[in-house]
């Protein structure tokens, strides 16, 4: 538990920093939402009849801003991206931080297996990821109180926070697997970050094409579509897919980490 505690302590400052970003985005977005929603109903009706590509170019893909729920969903699309970047940072940090700081000889000569150490580190990072999703729920609930809205949005916020967590989990485990697979820590981190960027680019392509089809499987940013979360729930198939993917990535990460050469840089 020493390691776990130390990891929590050293990760706290970045976590607070990222949470501040989340806070500002969610709060500013929600509190100022009423202006953006004016004549939203009309725009939504109009836009729903446009071809997909036109809608995407106008920046309205996957959007229904006639109601607060739709507006919040647009905000969440960006929170997904924010969370993915943070999660990738957590994942590669957990694996290669000791190499970067050149303290690996200190830690990995302790009488504990590498897997044990990695598991503790990943667990601590997972605590931050989970807290981050919880903070999203908390900030959203607090911010919406500033608006005089009727109706209870807690369930909606909860569903979006779960989606945030699941997407974060995929990128977290993927970044950990990449960091464990590359010998140079910078390469591993780069691969993790590029995965986020690439997935986002695919999400944009998804919005542009008329029949995306299989494209949806390739980008976690479109696993949970706004309309689905608002109307029903987090898509169960994709939720399971997220967990399954991250399980695979974790297995790769542990497998690679056990065999890798722990060099500096």
């Amino acid at each position: 538990m020493n390691l776990f505690r130390k990891e929590l302590k050293s990760g706290l400052k970045p976590f607070l920093f990222w949470s501040l970003g989340l806070f500002m985005f969610v709060f500013a977005g929600i509190v100022k939402s009423s202006a953006a929603m004016a004549d939203g109903q009309f725009m939504t009706d109009l836009i729903s009849k446009f071809p997909r590509i036109v809608v995407a170019v106008m920046g309205m893909a996957n959007v229904d801003i006639s109601q607060f729920g739709g507006f919040y969903a647009v905000l969440m699309q960006y929170i997904f991206v924010l969370t993915a970047v943070y999660a990738a940072h957590l994942g590669s940090g957990a694996v290669s931080r000791e190499s970067i700081d050149k303290t690996y000889e200190f830690l990995f000569t302790k009488p504990r297996s590498r897997s044990f150490i990695l598991a503790q580190k990943l667990l601590a990072a997972m605590v931050f990821l989970t807290l981050y999703a919880c903070f999203n729920l908390l900030f959203s609930t607090l911010a919406v109180k500033q608006l005089a809205l009727t109706g209870d949005y807690t369930a909606l916020f909860l569903r979006f926070s779960i989606a945030t967590w699941l997407i974060g989990l995929v990128f977290f485990s993927l970044a950990a697997a990449f960091a464990a697979s590359f010998r140079a820590s910078e390469r591993g981190a780069r691969a993790g970050n590029l995965a986020v960027l690439g997935a986002y680019a695919l999400a944009v392509v998804y919005d542009l094409v008329e029949k995306p089809g299989v494209l949806r499987l390739l980008t976690p940013f479109r696993y949970f579509l706004n309309t689905e979360i608002i109307k029903t729930n987090v898509h169960p198939f994709y939720a399971v897919l997220c967990v399954a993917l991250s399980a695979v990535f974790f297995v790769i990460a542990f497998d690679r980490f056990e065999r890798r050469d722990l060099g500096a840089v």
Partner: protein
């Protein structure tokens, strides 16, 4: 010019890959989606015909701008800016934190070379990379503009719109150089660069969503607005000024710090 050459040699591959990706994105979006986009104008017009004429007229004016090369180009600019911002931040962080990361500050600083000279050579290397990358991007933009835009062509405006990528990248480069020089430790260049780039992207998204005027002053993606450049031939002076002042101020602060800071013991 040893430092200049060394930095170029170390950083050019990454910059070249980024440039290829960025240009590929530009070509892919325009060649792949622009024709389909322009074709869909008919469907939109037919639909609008069923609305009251006054409304259709008001909207029709925007249609001309929306369904044009410039409109589509400006739409893509959000993504070009995102990629460009990450690239520029990566260059700034990489070059200006290299010795800090590799723990060889003493090696560089004990050379018979003033710190301002080291700083300037690093700056020059970064600018060379950014300019070369943007030369490719602008050339591709202009070629696409020739190929896809109908007459009459306004190459001056297209060039101004394309140059807003370079100007935006300079803002991010300055932010990154500032961060590299002032931070105690840079653990991962790509991680920090991605965070900076996406921070700019999120601010821009928030601005588009809320339309809050004040927000634009802290949104680097919107300092040099490509669509404004395309349709009016100018950047909005006050925001462009904020961008330029911010870039210069950050660079000067980085310079002052780089030439004066203590070198940490290893």
């Amino acid at each position: 010019m040893n430092v200049f050459r060394f930095e170029l040699r170390r950083a050019w591959v990454n910059a070249a890959v980024w440039t290829l990706v960025l240009t590929g994105l530009l070509v892919g979006l325009i060649a792949g989606a622009l024709p389909a986009f322009l074709e869909s104008r008919v469907a939109v017009e037919n639909m609008l015909a069923s609305f009251p004429p006054a409304f259709a007229a008001a909207f029709g004016l925007q249609l001309d701008n929306l369904f044009s090369f410039g409109g589509f180009y400006a739409f893509g600019f959000l993504y070009y800016s995102l990629f460009g911002a990450i690239m520029a931040s990566a260059i700034g962080l990489d070059l200006f934190s290299r010795e800090k990361r590799e723990k060889c500050m003493d090696f560089l600083m004990t050379k018979p070379c003033t710190r301002s000279r080291l700083f300037l050579e690093k700056l020059l290397a970064s600018l060379a990379l950014l300019l070369a990358s943007n030369a490719v991007f602008m050339t591709a933009s202009m070629l696409l503009y020739r190929a896809y835009a109908p007459d009459p062509l306004l190459p001056g405006r297209a060039l101004l719109a394309a140059s807003s990528l370079l100007l935006t990248e300079l803002v991010f480069f300055a932010i990154a150089a500032f961060a590299a020089v002032f931070a105690k430790k840079i653990r991962s260049v790509s991680g920090t660069a991605t965070a900076i780039g996406f921070a700019g992207f999120l601010l821009s998204a928030l601005y588009s969503l809320l339309g809050e005027e004040k927000l634009r002053y802290i949104t680097p993606f919107k300092y040099y607005d490509a669509s404004k450049a395309f349709f009016d031939g100018v950047f909005e002076a006050k925001y462009a000024l904020v961008g330029a002042v911010l870039t210069l101020a950050l660079m000067i602060a980085a310079y002052a710090r780089y030439t004066r800071a203590d070198i940490p013991a290893l």
